[in-house]
């Protein structure tokens, strides 16, 4: 054990010294090259297996990158709105995105009203950004969200204060995906906490209900939950009563996500030492005070990674609403290709949708890392 520990200061010194020695030996031009050479030798060719891996990776890059760059950038057609130009150029047809981006982003929403979902999304995303900062985590945030949802709803539906009514069957694209995912996450989260607490409850009836719910929902794919929500559920409703399709999908996503999240939360609860519960009990805190002030703040911090993992899953899973005929982002990307002359360029359309999904998911992943660092600062035991 002691050998590597003793070595490491030496190694650190070597890292520091090498560029410095290079500086002394080769002033000006040679400096960067020598440092690069040193870095390369240390990081890429330090042993036989490393050397082999480096060479294989290089070969793959050489084999893969040039054609990709050639297709995506060099031979690509960016503008023009004419599929024939694309076919002649032979590269990627980003002109498809230029032509179809409004349909992909907003679906069947009336064309001259696209500013409405755009503004709604901007407000929505700003509210999400603000909610990401722990400094804003207080009761006022709930009020802000109530306003955001009201204004967002007014912009999307309209029907009064000078906006024409747009029924939600015509919503689509990115706003729809964002609504399904955000409301799915935001509403599933508190529900999952209740389920996790219920599963650890002392009352057998509550425990049984929560266990049953979690196990049943986890045992069923989301596709079938959505399918049931859209096809079977209306069969049980009395004649004449219909519940909006979008609402049914939204509820399905919330209920499904909550079951998975509940298990992540339960993992956090199980990791809190018994002494924390006892100290809270001994101070006379009631059950909800104990959980809300002492146990959950600690438990949730521990399970940020699996929770965000579930958020990311939920975000991507909203694309399954295609099976009940809602026009989310992935569906609009696909539908844009039903225009015959553009049909060969499906890769471009999916790459575009994929990049949008990636942007949001990557943000969530980085945010989870930031949050973990931020919340654990100072509290490490």
């Amino acid at each position: 054990m002691s050998a590597p520990i003793e070595q490491s200061p030496g190694e650190i010194a070597a890292h520091v010294e090498e560029p410095m020695r290079a500086t002394l030996a080769a002033p000006r031009r040679g400096r960067g090259a020598a440092a690069l050479l040193g870095w390369t030798r240390r990081n890429l060719f330090s042993s036989v297996p490393n050397t082999i891996l480096t060479l294989v990776a290089l070969a793959l890059l050489v084999w893969f990158l040039p054609p990709l760059i050639n297709w995506a950038l060099v031979k690509a057609t960016w503008t023009g709105g004419d599929p024939k130009l694309c076919r002649e150029a032979g590269g990627a047809c980003w002109a498809l995105i230029e032509t179809k981006h409004r349909f992909i982003l907003f679906g069947l929403y009336p064309h001259d009203q696209h500013w409405r979902p755009l503004v709604a999304m901007a407000i929505f995303l700003s509210a999400i950004a603000a909610s990401c900062d722990p400094r804003f985590w207080n009761w006022r945030l709930a009020g802000i969200w109530a306003v955001v949802l009201a204004v967002g709803g007014w912009l999307m539906w309209g029907g009064f204060l000078g906006l024409a009514y747009v029924e939600n069957a015509r919503w689509g694209g990115l706003p729809l995906t964002l609504i399904l995912a955000t409301l799915g996450i935001v509403l599933a989260f508190p529900l999952s906490i209740l389920l996790a607490l219920g599963r650890r409850s002392d009352l057998p009836a509550i425990r049984a209900v929560c266990v049953g719910y979690i196990e049943i929902v986890r045992g069923v794919p989301l596709v079938s939950v959505l399918f049931m929500a859209s096809i079977m559920f209306p069969l049980f409703l009395p004649e004449g009563l219909t519940i909006d399709k979008l609402l049914r999908a939204q509820v399905g996503i919330i209920l499904f996500t909550a079951a998975y999240l509940a298990e992540a939360v339960r993992g956090g609860l199980a990791a809190i030492p018994k002494g924390q519960y006892e100290a809270a009990d001994a101070m006379g805190l009631g059950y909800w005070q104990k959980m809300g002030l002492v146990i959950l703040p600690q438990a949730l911090r521990l399970v940020i990674p699996p929770i965000v993992n579930q958020f990311i899953s939920c975000f991507k899973d909203t694309s399954l609403v295609i099976i009940i005929g809602l026009y989310d982002l992935l569906t609009t990307a696909k539908t844009a290709l039903t225009d015959p002359p553009w049909r060969p360029f499906y890769v471009e359309s999916y790459v575009f949708a994929g990049l949008v999904y990636f942007g949001f998911c990557f943000f969530m992943s980085r945010y989870s890392q930031y949050l973990e660092r931020r919340l654990n600062a100072g509290t490490r035991r």
Binding site: G275, E278, A282, G284, L285, Q298, T379, R381
Partner: protein, 247 residues
Amino acid sequence: MANDPVILLDKVNKWYGEFHVLKDIDLAVGKGEKVVICGPSGSGKSTVIRCINRLEEHQRGRIVVDGVELTSDIRSIDAIRRKVGMVFQSFNLFPHLTVIENLTLAPLWVKKTPLKQAQETAMRYLERVKIPEQAHKYPGQLSGGQQQRVAIARALCLKPDIMLFDEPTSALDPEMIKEVLDVMVELAGEGMTMVCVTHEMGFARTVADSMVFMAEGVIVEKAPPKEFFAAPKSERTRQFLSQIIGH
């Protein structure tokens, strides 16, 4: 009335499944009395004091704290927990809250004290345990001795009539034990009713009004410290004392 015990255990019995942990425990603690409980590991010392504030449930017998009998009625449990503060071997501070937040949490939420007043009280108790300068640190940034003093201050912030200590110094390095015991001695001097599980016999000698020796779920002997240390009645007590004082 002055002679009425504030804590009364009357033939208290407790089982963990088949295992009979507490057997007919009788104990009366008067107002302002300091009781030190000692005994070998596993004898049921922790279980006894954890029954007093209902962290553990007893199955037979009566426990009466300041005139309120402990039953499974939530109200009786709440009433008693408001009067009884507890300090644990492993501190059990809340690691996600700063020291001052640890101290004000229960006053704010249980007693509904205004924030300003709760903070003032908290600072006063932090001064009494001699670490006001640590108020805005997290527990993880303090030494064990400091953490235990914060835990004592936290219990005191609820203005309890009775303090329970379960081996408060057993998890501490020797050089920190004294700083915690000093705080406890001072507290005893102010007339707090204390029930303390500890093997710090020096502390017991100076502070205790009565010593209780437990073994295998039974109170073997209860006596004032002078008698207890000089002339223990039972052979079992003598053996135990020679072991821990011999070290």
